[in-house]
Amino acid sequence: MMSLLDVQGLTVNFSTKEGIHYVLKNVDFNINKGEIVGLIGESGSGKSTLAMTILDINSRSREMSGNISFSGEKIDNIKKEKMRQLRGKRIGFVPQSSMNALNPLVKIKSQFFESIKAHTNMSREEMLSLTTRSLEMVGITPSRMNSCPYEFSGGQRQRIMIALSMLLSPELIIADEPTTALDATVQLKIIELLKNVVQQKQTSMLVISHDLHTISKICDRIYIMYAGRIVETGTRDEILNNPVHPYTQKLLASRLPLMCEPVRVKGISGTPPSTLKKYEVCEFMERCDRVSEICRTVRPPECTGSMKVACHLGCNLECHPE
Amino acid sequence: MKLSERSISLFISLLLVSTILFVPASASSEDSSEERVFTASWGTSSTADWGFPSPLTFYPRGPGYIMTSYCFDALVWPEESGDFTGLLAESWESSDDGLEWTFHLREGVTWHDGEPFTADDVVFTMDYIKDKAAISPIGSSWYNTAVIKSVEATDDYTVVITLNYQYAPFIQQVAAVIPIMPKHIWENVEDPSKYMEDEAAIGTGPFILEDYDTDQQSYKYTANKDYFLGEPIIDTLIYVKTSDAVISLKTGEIDESGLTLDQVQALDESDNMEVISGPGYWVYRLRFNIPSNTILNDTTVRQAIYYSLNCSDIESRVLHGGGIGGNPGYVPPYSSWYNPDVTQYEYDINKANQMLDDAGYSETNSDGIRLDSEGNPLEFQLLYSSDQQSQRIAELVQTYLKKIGIGITLKPGDTKTVDGLVTAGNFDLAIYSHGTSTDPARMLNSFPTSTGWNNSEFMALAEEQMSTMDENKRKELVDEMQVLIADNVPTIPLMYRNVYSASSKDTVTGFFYTDGGVGGGVPTEYNKLVFIYGTWNGDSDETTTTNTENSVDSIGILESVAILACAFILILHGKR
């Protein structure tokens, strides 16, 4: 299967007054056509930066290296205008905060129309029917398109966001924490909606979340991210049933069970690493229970190519160290 | 980029729309090539609005009266020399006791509306002002109707005015001041101070009021071609406000303006101006609270203060030579009533100190301020109105008095507050500046009220000179009064201001300062006789040409500004 999005060796730094933030470190990553890929990591691990770097909407004070190619075309250095045409038309984006991601003062209809106008030359009627169709798809009564965003509930707004991202049938959808700000009962519906819409339109999707459990339901493949690095990757079943990296293991173990009897679950103690610091060894070492001697001296392997886990442990178990 | 283009066009259209909306009624566009227009200005004053120019509505200051005098004639009028020529009266004589004045009126004079002028109008005017306007600000301050007992018309062109008492300056202060108003217009007017219809400006004068604009503070008169002394030398007389007279003169915006000496110095040869100067009859003086302040009540203290003030220095610092130092006798040196043989107070600080020491103020405190017998420091409040000259004078007086150990606190206020406080006796010292009437009757007789100094000897002289019809005898009395003033120092005249005027040599020349002033003593270059007997040097209307060029210039500038703005925006947008 041909990969739709291919990211290789992506490194992103931001220079600010406080110093250089090392946000993404040598990230290798790919999404195939029609695939739903999950990207899991705790807050501050750089997952949103990855999404925005792919979309090229965080170029302010950004330094980056590495390759990003979309349908075989290199896009990490193309012209702004061309990139703009790509966004929205071929890559859709569902943002984290559905509450404010729509301009609160502009009618839904106009916001849909301007998206269409930015990429195509449709007539008014065509735009109207397209808008109607996509709103229907996410279960919003099309007659409400003349309302402003603040007249909708949070769940409805997130639906509208999904409709808006899917409007021009992009080949790839990037959903950044699509459910975080929503109530529990709504979260599930949105996840299911996303899954249905993606399947219906045969689109690929990248779902970003800190919540392994909610997202894993719809993912084909999962990348685990920690401190700007992909630390483990695999199919959903591999990750859920047979995690190798200690972080993934802990992440899975820290999930709260819904048990009648009291049980104890262990969380991940310690603090997330700072992006300002340049680590010479494994970033997770400070919080890891299974630190061995090699961890203190040698960097673990990068999670690239055939390497599915960035841990000495993983090497020992799965591949054969040279 | 479209956004900003749109906003620029939006802006420009808004600008135009707002302009169109707010443009006041468009002026007429008559042919102007033949017109002789003369534009004048009262100089750089905060206002150029002197009220509606009717005899009872103008603002009661000198310029207001002058604006009215263009439309209205008095019985007589002063010439350059100060002698009187007949306007509405061709000749006049008085009875031997000076109580009865007979005026023989000019025949064939018509009002601007064509009605004939008769003696009835004169009688009506005198009675009307005496009756209706005596208590109004204008009536009381400009028209001295109190001396008039009765007015009678013996025939259509003879009027006899009977006085209550002998009044030497009757011609100068009454006959040459009161504008004669048309009976047929005013007889039904109940409240003259609110009557400002077009008819209210109808008189017999050399000019007809065409427009008075209180917002633009401008006046426009057209010549009265049938004026009985002859057709005016100009067709249109315009008064405008200018924020800087010199600039306006240089650009030709105005043809003539009253100036200060500083402003005169800003003119040069190339401006082609005729500059004249004249006596200002304007005094700056230091007033004492003689009745209530026990220290200042002492003549010695006042004399010491006079010795400590260098009047010519004050003049040179405040007016920069545009005036003359104060005369202890109060009458300005250029007046024909001036008496040079009075006590002089040459600047002498030692003498001043000595006098104060002798008066018992020899002790001083640590600040060098003298103490009185009870040990209180000699500190006075100096009240002054906050106009620039008064403030400057006050600062200088403060400096000078400090040198002789008198402390001064400055207390500024506006003219009216100062007047109010002085009237209430609520002050120590005050700087006053005002016009001095040219006739001693008004100049000196008011001393008890204007200085608070009450001297029976002086008052007796004052009474006497007012009813003395013999000029020489009168002069002697006035000289004596000046001696008394100089000896007692009821007030210290610090300096007298001169007046200056510049007019373009290409328009009207022949301006002069009337000796003794116009309208009872207004020192002005605008004696209306100039516009009858003066010379017109231009042959076409210069004002209009200049202005047109000006506006053509402005179009270019506006365009370039707009283009620059557009370019700026385009550059801004092009960058990204």
Binding site: G88, P95 | V23, D211, T214, T242
Partner: protein, 331 residues
């Protein structure tokens, strides 16, 4: 929602009416608590220039005429009813009804303030938005240095400099008045140009006085808005820069309008200085001249008029905002 909006408009209108009423009350009570008493503000102080001595009888008659002998609340009712009939008394200086003078001056001030406001707002918004969009870049830094400098120049000083440069040195623009009196215009355009050329300097001066404030305001609000998720989303949707700016502008316009309306009182102060410096015959110069002459009725009338203009503008801004932002009045 429309009912809500009209409710909001009406309730705000009531609030403004109360505000205006209170301003009238201030005007009523001010002369009554100040030294000199209310009669002073009607007749002016006694001056030696105008030696009319008001004796006790006249004084009583005057007090009677102006209802000053009545109890305070009756006086107040008289005052309010007079004010509502636009009767602010007679000018001491001009000796005509105050309202006549004010009505003559108002259009010029509105022209001056209006054009300066439009000019400064439009340019302030354009530059502010541009600066916010390119925040951190050279243009932004340059503007952030230049604008505060302009903001620091006192209006009257700027006016003096402009007169010097554009009036004295170059002679490009007339430096006083609002039009050339009694000029024989070739036509309407000529007339308009004359007015514009008189307007240019004071207007630019007032605009320069206003614009830095607007610029900084717009820039700050836009920078805030640019950090909002909807901007990110707009970018992610691949909208054109212009469209995104439009979004930012729509969201910034409400606070900007509100702030500008709130700053109008400040602008009035600028108008007083600038009209005085340029002898522009508007309300500002009238206020200054009336102050110099202690023409209390005109001073107070002008104050009421200016307050009315400011209040009206605020109200219009309120209504405009409630149309732009349907949420107004819901919080």
């Amino acid at each position: 929602m429309d009912r809500k909006r009209s409710g909001h408009i009406i309730s705000r209108g009531l609030e403004y009416a109360i505000t205006f009423f209170l301003i009238l009350a201030i005007n009523f009570f001010l002369p009554r608590v100040m030294p000199g008493g209310p009669l002073l503000s009607i007749t002016g102080s006694q001056s030696s220039d105008l030696p009319v001595v008001i004796d006790e009888e006249t004084k009583y008659k005057l007090m009677e005429y102006y209802h000053l002998n009545d109890p305070l609340h009756i006086q107040f009712i008289h005052y309010i009813s007079d004010a509502l009939h636009l009767d602010f008394g007679y000018s001491i200086f001009y000796n005509v009804p105050v309202v006549d003078i004010l009505v003559g001056r108002l259009p010029w001030t509105i022209l001056l303030m209006g054009t300066a406001l439009v000019f400064s707002t439009i340019f302030g918004i354009i530059i502010g938005l541009e600066s916010a969009w390119k925040r951190g870049e050279k243009l932004d830094h340059a503007l952030l240095v230049i604008m505060p400098f302009f903001r620091s120049i006192p209006a009257f000083f700027l006016g003096a400099i402009m007169i010097f440069v554009f009036g004295y040195k170059t002679g490009w623009f007339p430096t006083s008045g609002s039009m050339t009196p009694y000029m024989n215009y070739a036509g309407f355009i000529d007339h308009a140009l004359d007015i514009i050329s008189h307007l240019a300097l004071p207007m630019l001066c007032l605009a320069a006085f206003e614009m830095p404030g607007t610029y900084l305001l717009v820039r700050n609000i836009c920078v805030q808005q640019l950090g909002k998720p909807y901007v990110l989303m707009a970018e992610a949707r691949g909208l054109k820069e212009r469209t995104i700016k439009k979004h930012v502008l729509i969201n910034s316009i409400v606070p900007v309008i509100n702030q500008i309306a709130a700053m109008l009182g400040f602008m009035v102060a600028g108008t007083v200085f600038i009209e005085t410096v340029f002898s522009y015959p508007g309300m500002g110069m009238l206020v200054y001249n009336s102050f110099i002459e202690r023409d209390y009725p005109v001073l107070q009338g002008a104050f009421i008029f200016m307050s009315l203009v400011v209040l009206a503008c605020n109200y219009v801004a309120d209504i405009a905002c409630s149309y732009i932002d349907g949420r107004t009045g819901q919080e």
